[in-house]
Amino acid sequence: MSQPVILTMKQISKAFPGVQALNQVDFSLRQGEIHALMGENGAGKSTLIKVLTGVYGLDQGQVWLDGKLVQIRSPKDAQAQGISTVYQEVNLCPNLTVAENLFLGRQPMKHGRIDWQETARQAGVLLQKLNIEVSPSAMLDECSLALQQMIAIARAVDMNCKILILDEPTSSLDDEEVARLFTLMRQLRQAGVGMIFVTHFLEQVYEISDRITVLRNGERVGEYETAALPRLQLVAKMMGKDFNDLAVIQAAPKGQVDPGSVPVIEAKGIAHSGTIKPFDLTIHKGEVVGLSGLLGSGRSETVRAIYGADRADQGSLKVNGRPARITQPLDAMKLGMAYLPEDRKKEGIIPELSVRENIILALQAKRGLFHLMSRKEMAEAADRYIDLLQIKTPSRETPVRSLSGGNQQKVIIGRWLLTNPDYLILDEPTRGIDIGTKTEIQKLVLELAGQGKAITFISSEIEEMLRTCSRIAVLIDGAMVGELTGAQLTQAQVMQTIAGGKTVQEDK
């Protein structure tokens, strides 16, 4: 590892209203290395990358490139300085050919017109050099995603890039495609390209990366040689412990469950092709069942299939002992389900509507078009939950978009509590929310379970899950690999399961 360092980021800080996205983060990249950038959601990975590619300006800190202090003003500027990015959603044009995508905006010209023959020839040479097996004249949207990724990489490489950022490039690829991508990455490593590899797949990190930098809550946890960092430790570093709120709830009593009772939810063999493999899940009254796994492991997809947000391809579902057919969310709601989606902005709040309207919306939808709640009823309901959940808002008529993230989340929780559900699905209810509100939400979950509600809780923080869940199901790559209960509910055990039981044994 005597390769020279080509990129150094020093003391990078970046704040958004209400959030310190990056706090004095250091990062360095050597020539010809694959450097994994790890961290759960909200850790600051994407912010760091956006600072590096000029999408965001930085509040504090310096970026040194090849020993020179530089300023990166825009994505175009970054490209000009040799920094290219390949995203999970490929940034190419699906309606054009492979060759054209490779040379768009810089096509070889002859006599003032594009020389298509030369374009095809150069494309062929480039693809061959990188061992990418695709005809230059194929349309991009006929190529598999893996090929599209590689074509995007080829374009970047050909544009003389020294630093290549791969932002979750493997999320939508199958094993074989990943292998092909890795071959290409190794080839580039040989050629001296420095790569920043962002992913949440541990296997892949250990397979290909040389070093790992872990971020958590906008801060750098540390930089490690991949070979010297055991898998379990990596998970621990990513998940971390939140000592602040640990002090607040200490082993709060968990809901008592009567295993003999009719389960609220009994899912059998539910699956969704391409995302989740068949799984069974049973949840009783008063039980908080956690779904754990790394990002992209299928934890959100699992609950979405139960709720009818995405229709399951197969499997059966019983609600309170009776078979249920759910084709749309309203069906699930009528069976007493409630679903707090992972993406609050896109799928949760109705931004322009008031706090009141956002709170009563689900109940109103459940009652139907012709049974409008009276203004008084709405106001009372809204006030009740603003009060109960301590939502900080100037008034109940304030548009919900002007509230802070935590308060928006509380509005959505209020929306569902108002429907008096038997079964609550909470997908990352505490993401991007201040510590105080986080603790409140955790307490609330336990309280609700105490009232006899069945709850599915999804979170990236193991600590939080351990505190609230009486049972945790672990997913890897869309398959449920284990269920932990009672004494098994320890941080070490959960992490080991997430890290993949098989490999843990190998480590031993």
Binding site: N91, C93, L96, E142
Partner: protein, 341 residues
């Protein structure tokens, strides 16, 4: 791979050309007694639609970027009326009228293009306003119909270009086939625009913008500038097409070219240009115009049907192609979705 490459743009173009041939040949068979089979009938398709061909080419450019321009019909009326007014009421020359036409088109392109590209306002609402503005301005110029009697203008309009083929009628007289200069201008426009789309970076950029504007930005293209230029070019071609339209009608009045925007959009869509952008071309658009012309000829030849049927049939055809596009789009989205999900 080669056969698959035909997929979207190829498939749509094939359907269009096939449809045109089918309609024209069945027209020849059904109305053979009414002269549908004569070569001049075919040439008349070009003569009466020369202006529309040029206008549709401009619109196709904008539609490839994923935009739209519904002001073209009204701008045509404005161009015709201003030309007529300048020549007849102000005594200016036909050349001046031509230049004025091009400038009017350009102005519309500049303003609409700026608002759409740089202020990011929905193209529909802007060009809707443009449509009403141009129609209103036409009335400001003249509420009366102005017939054009300018000598040079009529010389341009009526200069027959005889083609080296014809047919002999039942009395044994040889009747030659001819076209007007407008047809040459129109076909030249199609060729030039087709070459531009194929062989310039600007042309390719339009496809990239329509395919995925976000990607185009990421790939370093100047999306705003190129989009703006597309609208400017569209405006210019509308000015030119409007003047050709005028050469065919030799008049200018408020109600002129009503619904022409619909004809142009239909022509582009039928010709395989996706409403969502990214796919299409002017050759397809040319066939789209010919299909529209054939429908009109069929209905006129038939004789008893009201001329309103032309528009209704065209709307129905447009509707069919829109649904077809939506279906093709959703099929390919599903193919993709399975992978992305």
């Amino acid at each position: 791979m080669k056969s698959k490459k035909l997929s979207r743009s190829g498939l749509l173009l094939t359907i269009t050309v096939g449809l045109f041939l089918l309609m024209y040949i069945s027209g020849m068979l059904i109305f053979s007694d009414k002269g549908f089979a004569k070569p001049q009938m075919f040439l008349n398709l070009f003569i009466s639609n020369a202006g529309l061909i040029v206008i549709s080419c401009g619109l196709t450019l904008v539609m490839i970027t994923g935009g739209i321009d519904i002001s073209v019909g009204s701008v045509t009326a404005l161009v015709c009326t201003v030309s007529a007014f300048m020549m007849e009421n102000m005594g200016l020359s036909a050349v001046t009228a031509l230049i004025a036409s091009l400038i009017i088109g350009l102005l519309f392109g500049l303003v609409q293009g700026y608002l759409v590209s740089y202020l990011e306002i929905q193209p529909f609402i802007i060009t809707l306003a443009g449509m009403f503005f141009a129609r209103g301005m036409t009335a400001v110029v003249s509420t009366e119909m102005i017939s054009i009697k300018n000598e040079l203008f009529l010389k341009w309009a009526k200069a027959k270009i005889v083609l080296p083929f014809g047919y002999t009628n039942n009395k044994g007289v040889y009747i030659e086939s001819y076209i007007y200069p407008t047809v040459i201008v129109a076909l030249l426009t199609v060729v030039l625009v087709a070459l531009m789309l194929k062989y310039t970076r600007f042309g390719r950029s339009l496809y990239a913008i329509g395919g995925n504007a976000q990607s185009a930005v990421m790939m370093g293209l100047n999306v705003r500038r190129d989009k703006f230029r597309a609208y400017v070019l569209d405006g210019f071609l509308t000015g030119l097409g409007g003047f050709l339209f005028c050469l065919n009608s030799c008049a200018g009045f408020v109600e002129q070219a009503k619904g022409l925007e619909m004809d142009a959009i239909s022509a582009a869509v039928i010709g395989g240009t996706l409403l969502t952008g990214g796919v299409g071309g002017v050759v397809g658009t040319l066939f789209g115009v010919l299909i529209k012309g054939t429908i009109a000829s069929l209905i006129t030849t038939q004789g008893t049907l009201s001329s309103w049927w032309v528009r209704i049939a065209l709307s129905a055809l447009l509707c069919f192609f829109i649904v077809l596009q939506a279906v093709i789009g959703s099929v390919s989205a599903k193919k993709h979705g399975a992978r992305l999900a």
